[in-house]
Amino acid sequence: MVAIPSFWDERKLLVFLALIIVASVVMLIEIDAARRGSQSLADQFAGTVVGPIQGALMVTGRAIANEAYVTTHARVIAEQDAALAAKARALAAADERLKAHGVENRELLRMLAVRAAVPGRTIEADVVGYAPEAARRELEIDRGSSQGIALNDVVLNGDGLIGHVVDVGPSSAHVLLIVDPTSAVPAYLQHTHAWGIVTGTWLHARMKYIGQDVHLTFGDVVVTGLGEIYPAGIPIGTVSQIDRKDNALYQVAVLQPAVNFEALDRVLVLVSR
């Protein structure tokens, strides 16, 4: 007969056996549920009852942890914040530069298309200034006679006609805009091929000497007609107003210029020689 040591008295042995049996059963139930990919009763209880408490604790814990982090790392966060702000400013500046480059790129593409479309040689020039007073609507470009620019050379950009050169220096030239009242450009309506003369009104342009029998419509495109200075087919603008009087010999059309004269920075000069 084997004597059970006093350390393992009967009660402890019974408890031990009961615990082993219950723990094994619980373990097998849990393992079985895990193998089947389902949840045991204890898992379901935990998910139903304890789950919301866990969720609330997690949210609270995260909030406290965040606050603690902010409190303990205030200086570092401030430095990071300043660095990020500087980076954001640099990125914004880079973004602006990229946008400007994009605009410039589109403008250059349009000018390339114009260069391919118009006859003869062209010279690219930058606009370096406008006439300081409102006596004339002129602009100054950074190319002159040394680059081959001559008097009466036609100036345009990707949108349409700008004007023509009215005086030339060695390294600069002045361009009279088509919106200047002294400018006169032979032109015709692209739709009807009715001829007229385009002169400036400071802000817009007017097409004069359009016959009374010509049917004008808003939005008609006006292009240059072949003349002494201008080649044919360069867009000037579109009809925005029509002035027709029964007792007059001709009609007048107010044009919205194709070019925005307030935002010119690069132009093409059609070299005549």
């Binding site: 031990f16 615990l19 204890a42």
Partner: protein, 194 residues
């Protein structure tokens, strides 16, 4: 005047043996171990806190185990029966919160085993408590690996996680030392009666 005189009955009654004085109520309460219900609620709270707030706290891959410390303390303080059953409950909680059955046997044996030490050692001894926590952590890890290998066919857990288990023992021992120091401090100030 005879001693049988009814007028002197009060004097005669005082002659008899005096009743034993009742012990002070406060002394009686000190020796009362915590109820199992309280321990069960503590275990549930420990499991929830461990799975939420402390889930992000780790040292070299080792997580703090409030449940093991509580089970070991209960075993040392209350003996094999309470320790064993609380170990079973703690293991069940750990498995219900995401253990897939690998914890329950280890926790149960840890609670029972530390309960066996209760009759030989003082429960508030630092070396005994910390050694018991280290042993319980190791036992729990070993049985977890065995269960993983047998039930789920996951070989190599020992090689992979033994390093983490050693750190878990150290972390749990540190937690046990802090907890016991707090309990001692609370008892000295009369805030805890265990």
């Amino acid at each position: 005047m005879s001693s049988l005189d009814p007028a002197r009955a009060d004097e005669r009654l005082r002659i008899g043996p005096s009743a034993p004085r009742r012990r002070a109520r406060v002394d009686a309460e000190i020796s009362v171990p915590p109820r199992f219900g309280v321990l069960a609620v503590l275990a549930l709270c420990a499991g929830i806190v461990q799975s939420t707030v402390l889930s992000g706290v780790e040292f070299r891959g080792a997580h703090i185990s409030l449940l093991i410390v509580l089970v070991v303390w209960t075993g040392l303080r209350c003996g094999v029966v309470t320790g064993g059953w609380l170990g079973l409950l703690a293991g069940l909680i750990a498995d219900a919160l995401g253990g897939n059955g690998v914890n329950v046997l280890g926790f149960t044996l840890a609670g029972f085993g530390t309960g066996l030490l209760a009759s030989r050692f003082f429960w508030d001894s630092f070396p005994v408590f910390i050694a018991a926590v280290a042993g319980a952590t190791a036992l729990s890890a070993l049985l977890s690996w065995a269960t993983l290998a047998i039930a789920f066919g996951e070989r190599g857990a020992f090689v992979r996680d033994s390093h983490t288990a050693v750190w878990a023992m150290i972390v749990n021992c540190a937690l046990a030392a802090i907890a016991l120091a707090l309990v001692r401090f609370g008892r000295s100030r009369g805030m805890i009666r265990t």
